[in-house]
Point group: C2
Chain length 313, copies 2
């Protein structure tokens, strides 16, 4: 735990090592999380999501630079759920390094999906816990893509930015349906391109069609490569956090996050115990053989195992 | 269960109603699955995945038409994991309907993500069970996007086609890392566009860099809009299934699918029982309050609940 002390004191290498233990879910990592948790709750967690090719990485870069100019300590967490097996994207990080390396006020922690029982969203939550505890003011969590995994990750954020871009196809349009409901702020990036007006207009139209909400998400136009609009976006990000804090929403959000966190941990803990119990079980193997041979259906097999594992409920 | 009889006899409306019950996880749906499961195991399940904008829907359409010419009964299952809240894409389905409607040998069943405990992959598995049992020769499962949810869905397939396309950005390139490992066949679609050669070359290069494998995935070029290359793709799809059947791989794959299925059902069953148990629990609520107020860390809260739920393990 001396490592934790050094990480808290600002030692970046120590922080990296702490994060690795947390990600690997070692007993030491778990102990670190227990120790650090009471010191969390200060950081503003901002999720950035959108389709591949929308320029998210460049935008996150620009946001980090802008936040630095505003005197904030920033952490960036690029999460790549698309690569469960081999480790994920590093291209964006290389580019990032060039702009932000050498600035002690910016810490970058990439995350790739693994075959972990607990799942990427949970591990991301743990990483955010550490980055919050060591004193980052803003944590930018960026996800590549727009699937369910990304939605789960975005749920860890206080403020969610959904990035759209002119000139993508029908699939993207269809995605908006789901994205409408998770966005606190919309960004139309590459706003210097043809079609930006049309994207913004469609978005407004879709928003006005939905049920009236307390705070309709603003639509900000940016050109991340030049920094255009980034300051306005940061103003909106700060305004959203102020809104959460002024209403009872921040409290409610934090309680919901706590509830989800505990539930996730209970689930993950139970599942790993159960997997262990089934893994060594001859009965499980025999039932699976019967299912594979179509002699038994999987639903009946599962019911039998469930009754044995939780007989009382 | 009279409905099931009608669905087995080829009544499409009855089949639609059966599938709805299965998706809604009604007790009747569960009974249907138990009854139909022994009759499954005949269909060739083909997964098609790739980035938004790669022309997957058009390609699936073309594959279905090609399979019809080869005398196969075809089911198409477009799965949209990107829209967990509002129901998902319908655009592609409308287009599809125009080409394939009126053909009694093609059945289309769209799926969108829901806030279901069991998850989309599991429900897709159930839908495949029904479509297999009623006698479809080939089931084309198409997913929009390339996240973890899609990878889970693709695992239900015997043969996985990954669709790439010229002219997408760095995010896409990075994705390939994960996709390399799940693809049985690569398609470079829109092969008449500039850059198709380069995509195919990069792909070959990445494949040759990896560990040597038993059957390196072939790379097929298609222009889905004109049907070019689709016949060759179908030959590769059939060749892959023949390869699985001739080696012991098909048996192993089926056993692995059965194992995953039973495990998923056990997990889902346990989780729903546990959620019910915790939902009514004052202790759970009190612990969550303490966690939200940073008086207790979520890890300790979860450990306490786990010990109570599964005291013996």
């Amino acid at each position: 735990m001396e490592l934790v002390g050094r990480a808290l004191a600002g030692d970046r290498r120590a922080l990296g090592q702490v994060l690795r233990r947390v990600e690997d879910r070692t007993p030491e990592g778990r102990a670190v999380l227990r120790a650090l948790y009471p010191q969390t709750g200060q950081a503003h967690v901002v999720g950035i999501t959108g389709a591949p090719g929308s320029g998210k990485s460049t935008l996150v870069n620009a946001l980090a630079l802008g936040l630095r100019r505003r005197g904030k300590r920033v952490a960036i967490v690029p999460v790549d759920p698309s690569s469960p097996l081999s480790g994920g994207a590093v291209l964006g990080d290389r580019i990032r390094m060039q702009d932000l390396s050498g600035d002690p006020g910016v810490f970058i922690k990439s995350m790739a999906a693994r075959e972990a029982l607990g799942g990427l969203a949970e591990t991301t939550g743990d990483v955010i816990t550490v980055l919050d505890a060591v004193g980052h003011d803003v944590i930018l969590v960026e996800t590549v893509g727009v699937g369910q995994a990304e939605v789960d990750i975005v749920r860890e954020a206080h403020t969610t930015i959904v990035v759209l871009v002119p000139g993508l196809g029908d699939d993207i349009q269809a995605m908006k349906a789901g994205l409408l409901e998770i966005a606190d702020i919309f960004v139309v990036n590459k706003a210097d391109r043809e079609g930006a007006d049309s994207v913004a207009r469609q978005l407004s139209a879709m928003l006005s069609l939905g049920a009236p909400i307390d705070r309709p998400p603003p639509i900000v136009r940016t050109v991340a490569t030049t920094g255009e609009g980034v300051d306005q976006l940061l103003d909106e990000v700060e305004a959203h956090f102020a809104y959460l804090a002024a209403s009872s929403q921040l409290h409610r959000l934090n309680r919901r996050k706590a509830e989800r966190r505990v539930l996730e941990l209970v689930r993950a803990g139970l599942l790993s115990r159960i997997s262990r119990a089934l893994g060594g079980s001859g009965e499980f193997e025999a039932l699976v053989d019967q299912v594979a041979d179509r002699k038994l259906d999987p639903y009946s097999a599962a019911d039998r195992l469930i009754t044995e594992l939780l007989p009382s409920r």
